[in-house]
Symmetry: C2
Subunit: 418 residues, 2 copies
């Protein structure tokens, strides 16, 4: 595809800016981030005003309440955003970290160090907080960023980007380190996907549909994030207390996120012991259980499950429950339906735990823990770019290090190859 000149100009400016931010010291980047946090707080009235326009349009267009809530920015949320930016400023800067190296037999000193990608692009949906989070993470790791947010948040995003750019200029840094292409609509997204030579990595964040589009249409390198059809397997020896605590936590604490459990698999020999209490515990929290025949016979109010339920990422207070013959059948079910995000086994049998950990091919595989732990914050990364479900470059929660590449430095004294 051909990219309009006005967009190409922006991409070129991003590339030039990337060289400038790559050279900033860790301290300079932290100062710039603190300036951004302060500027966001100071601009709260303007941000709220712009956000009101987005909210009003959203209501008129009848978007769902959940989406409206994600769209909302009030004084409290803006303050939280500013705090998040200050937290990112406090994170350890990955740039320059030596990750490998040795001296060659001929004396050449080889060193592999972390360097910024250059230009990071992100295509996401109507969550204005992502605009700020991603810009902060990109800047901390020495990258310039190109943002394409959802049109439902366009007024909010426009003001947020403007405030951040002004704050950069106030610190003597080029505003082009943070740019949006929202004003180009869908054309902006298409151009980002085809910006070979300008965009070093493109991260889609949002619905399965958005991610599929980006992955299949991009000619620039992509990190696939995402969809989580997450399983918990209750092994024969699963303790009832762990089972109830973990499944309820994994389903109920925040049902709309990708690390929430969607299907519980139960070892046949444990079904009578575990299912009735677990179903009751889930139902007490308002969860609808979609079960197979065995599950249906062990609880009341079970909605009969169909094949489609095994493949569904509900992202809501619904859960599928399926009784399997043994660990092998559980592994086979997971192989068939998992999206490779997170799976957990509840067991006290260490051999089964080890097999599950070894054989399940997902970004995060757990034994006896809630799937909700798959999260950059919980993993101690301090912030999260997204959760990668691909195997290239990054897998699982992506922190600042995952926004860097590496480069080899070789220092010699006249050596030639023999």
């Amino acid at each position: 595809m051909s990219i309009p000149d006005a967009l190409l100009d922006r991409f070129r400016a991003a590339k030039t800016a990337s060289r400038e931010v790559a050279r900033l010291t860790s301290g300079e980047k932290a100062e710039a981030l603190r300036a951004i946090a302060t500027a966001l707080e100071a601009a709260a009235p303007r941000i709220i005003e712009a956000n009101a326009v987005d909210l009003e349009r959203g209501r008129t267009e009848g978007i769902a309440t959940g989406l409206l809530d994600r769209l909302l920015l009030d004084a409290g949320r803006i303050s939280s955003l500013a705090t998040a930016v200050r937290d990112v400023a406090a994170l350890h800067d990955p740039v320059g970290q030596v990750v490998g190296g040795h001296r060659l037999p001929n004396g050449v000193a080889l060193e592999q160090i972390r360097v910024p990608f250059g230009v990071v692009a992100v295509i996401y949906e109507a969550r204005p907080n992502v605009t700020v989070d991603i810009a902060a993470l990109a800047l901390r790791s020495g990258n310039a960023v190109l943002l394409r947010g959802g049109s439902a948040a366009r007024e909010s995003n426009m003001v947020l980007v403007e405030v951040m750019r002004d704050a950069l200029v106030g610190r003597g840094i080029t505003a082009d380190a943070i740019q949006s292409v929202d004003d180009f609509g869908r054309e902006g997204a298409n151009a980002l996907m085809n910006a070979r030579g300008y965009v070093d990595v493109l991260v889609p964040r949002g619905s399965a549909q958005l991610i599929e589009t980006v992955v299949t249409q991009s000619t620039v390198p992509v990190i696939e994030t995402g969809a989580g059809n997450v399983h918990i397997f209750l092994d024969e020896t699963a303790p009832a207390d762990w089972t109830n605590d973990i499944v309820v936590n994994a389903k109920v604490q925040r049902p709309s996120v990708c690390n929430a459990v969607e299907t519980v698999l139960v070892h046949r020999a444990a079904a009578d012991r575990l299912v009735p209490d677990l179903v009751a515990a889930l139902q007490a929290q308002g969860v609808t259980v979609h079960g197979d025949d065995v599950v249906g016979s062990l609880g009341s109010g079970i909605v009969p499950a169909t094949e489609a339920d095994w493949a569904t990422e509900y992202l809501d207070l619904d859960i599928a429950m399926h009784v399997v013959a043994d660990l092998d059948e559980a592994l086979e079910h997971i192989r068939t339906y998992s999206t490779g995000h997170t799976e957990s086994i509840i067991t006290t049998d260490s051999r089964n735990a080890d097999r599950f950990l070894a054989e399940v091919d997902s970004a995060v595989v757990m034994a006896n823990a809630s799937t909700r732990f798959t999260d950059g914050g919980e993993f101690g990364f301090g912030a999260e770019v997204g959760i990668s479900t691909q195997k290239l470059h990054a897998r699982g929660p992506m922190g600042l290090a995952e926004l860097t590449s590496t480069k080899w430095l070789a220092r010699g004294s006249g050596q030639v190859r023999g």
Copy 2:
């Protein structure tokens, strides 16, 4: 695109095989590789016979002498191939290596380990040795492999793949861990590029044209390898002995490879001192020097360079030479024309060396060493899948570790998220 059933069957078989090879111990994989090496030696007459058919067809179709030489397999080369496979067997197995981890505050033990990608696909040109090299590297790192070689080597590749598959079966390993799609011609390559859910990573090896096609048309994750428009900058303080040794080595030792130097940039203040001797040294080795006016005035037999020369990867006994005002102009020239593979500065000024190392955005940046060192073998990796010129996942020479992904393991005792 829709993938023919016969190819889909092969992709599914590769996926199934990948689970089997992922579980092999390091010792089992090494044994299998040694069996492959022995089988290749034993099958030498069959391989040479098949290769003769490819060579004959190549001659009839009038392919270049250099390509015919790359295509040739004789007893000596087959023996070298077997040795290379034994060398890979002796390499450290990256699978299972713990690359990170810590204990969360709540007691969950988090561990990040290396795991095989699963199914690695490689599209390459008419070099039958690549068939064996890649299969060996993929198996050592616990991956199944799907191969698509150039049609000019199809008879050779067919026998090589058959011999390797039989050797696997002899060790009780599924033959489907090594498969070729050569019999599907171009359709096989297209299917690999679109095998979402089957191919975990696709590596193109070959001409710039092949790589461009794969990068722009694939919907599976790709590692871009390749093109090297490599520069050496002679700074004001470049010692004449280092300059001559390094430039001649980097150009002449093996002109057809991607780490050979293509353009020499010379600091104006050093041109009178360095250019005459360097030009003479290059010409004595049969190198044609394409120079700008200043270079032309400092040597005889200089071919006038045009803009196109700065962008040309000669891969032959040709070199471009350009006098620049200073380090800044050299950096700007490299930014404009480099393919991000390897660049080197010759200097005794440590500040200029540091700036060059910091600011040149290439996979490998050197000071005072020959660009020919950018090589998996030279870097001590023992073998090389290719040289990545992208920033995602791998950058520079790719060894076995670059054929792995990672996975997070979390071991708890009933923990839930607060």
